[in-house]
Symmetry: C2
Subunit: 253 residues, 2 copies
Amino acid sequence: MAVEGKNPDVPDSCFADRIGRFLDLTQPERVALAALEDRPRTVRRGTPLVRANDRGTELFMLRRGMLMNFVLLDDGSRQILGFHFPGDMLGWPTLAFRSAPEALVAVTEAEVCSFDRAALIELASERPRLFAAITAFNQMERQALVDRLAGMGRTSARGRVAALLIEIRNRMRRVDATITNRFILGLTQEEIGDATGLTAVHVNRMLRQLEEDGLIAREGGRVTLIDEDRLAHVANYIDRNDAVDLTWLARLR
Amino acid sequence: MAVEGKNPDVPDSCFADRIGRFLDLTQPERVALAALEDRPRTVRRGTPLVRANDRGTELFMLRRGMLMNFVLLDDGSRQILGFHFPGDMLGWPTLAFRSAPEALVAVTEAEVCSFDRAALIELASERPRLFAAITAFNQMERQALVDRLAGMGRTSARGRVAALLIEIRNRMRRVDATITNRFILGLTQEEIGDATGLTAVHVNRMLRQLEEDGLIAREGGRVTLIDEDRLAHVANYIDRNDAVDLTWLARLR
DNA sequence: CGTTATGTTGAGTTTATTCAATAACCGTGG
DNA sequence: CCACGGTTATTGAATAAACTCAACATAACG
């Protein structure tokens, strides 16, 4: 559902907007989703929503800003698992684990809504088609992890940094269609390193190299993707969004 | 449910056995699961169940043997995402993607049952609690991916190989409780490399080094974990199974 | 019994890291 | 507004990790 087509009688939901691009939602489904997005809360950069080993049973709906999740290893090093944007539903591990295996932190100022896992399970009973769609959405997030894993194992440092830039730009553009090839990354080089499995120093060299090769430009915190084709090529980047198909769910009630 | 406690009136299901360790299933739930495990099929080592870009809409229940899933990159390199054992439900990407983003292949002779995604969605409507449990199970598989990603990004080659050995032993032991610290790995060094993001040559050196350090022993295709504590330490290994908690689902109908 | 896949080993190279020093940036308080 | 302290970015030199290439050994298999 395009924003301009929204029905003012139906409560607002970032997640519904997102899912609505792939599947027409019924009004009751939209209402059910909106119920997960009441009591929004604004958090500052750096605010932890979930700490590793937390006992909470909450999930989160991100409405504005950027979050990241990561795990910390015994030696103190951090692996960032991904960055998250409006319309993402987070905190899924709480369905299976007693305590949080991952941390969840705001990378920029952000607006989030939280709800208990019990509410999600209730939704599974009452709106099975919607829950099936959510499950499908989970597969997309899983696939992002898979692609990151493949990049980590089988791609050069330069390629991994390039892939991160493209991925973040694409995610940002899905929220704000006015973004073209220039955007504010909003990450330190150390964060890029923790996401790509590199040291901050090497990230710096790779960014510089991408710049020297004319693939990107940087001014301040702003990044410009100059040669997207070549960038996507060195990154081994695949946009899985094009391959998404939820139409088969439409036939269900 | 321990194997010896099975009710002969209830149809057999590997997945039910697995989930039953965390949550008591009702008889109708077991019946519903068993329906996903009819028409079993035996496949030989190397048999592809899903090829990348396949249009199929099937999921699979693994009943015997070992499978692996992987992605292929443009340059021909392969990233193995994980190895799978009896009781695993596979092929989830078909819920979201038009064509398969990953391949699924038998690593050993294996017995699998396939069912259409439509059957899964039907189960979501009729057995919402069961579907919630399946969703929780999905989080476990996701966490395995996450831990592999973290290992790839932040652990030494030696640690990644060690982690793979421990993980596979643990998975095998969950199926066959008689396995202690000695098991048949059943993987070539190239496969280990594709799973850990290393070359086969380097895998060989790392195995040798683990052996020289007295952490493992090898004879033929058989691996013995000699010093599990130290091995787990170099691997940065965390057994997430201990942290699983599905008891909160028990309160539901 | 030959053929092919897999495993082993060495030498040299590439890639990424560590350590260290300096520069630019940012927010805060004066 | 500016000074200041801490974070972030940049760069060089030395080191360590992993890869490539190549040769050979061993095991698996029809």
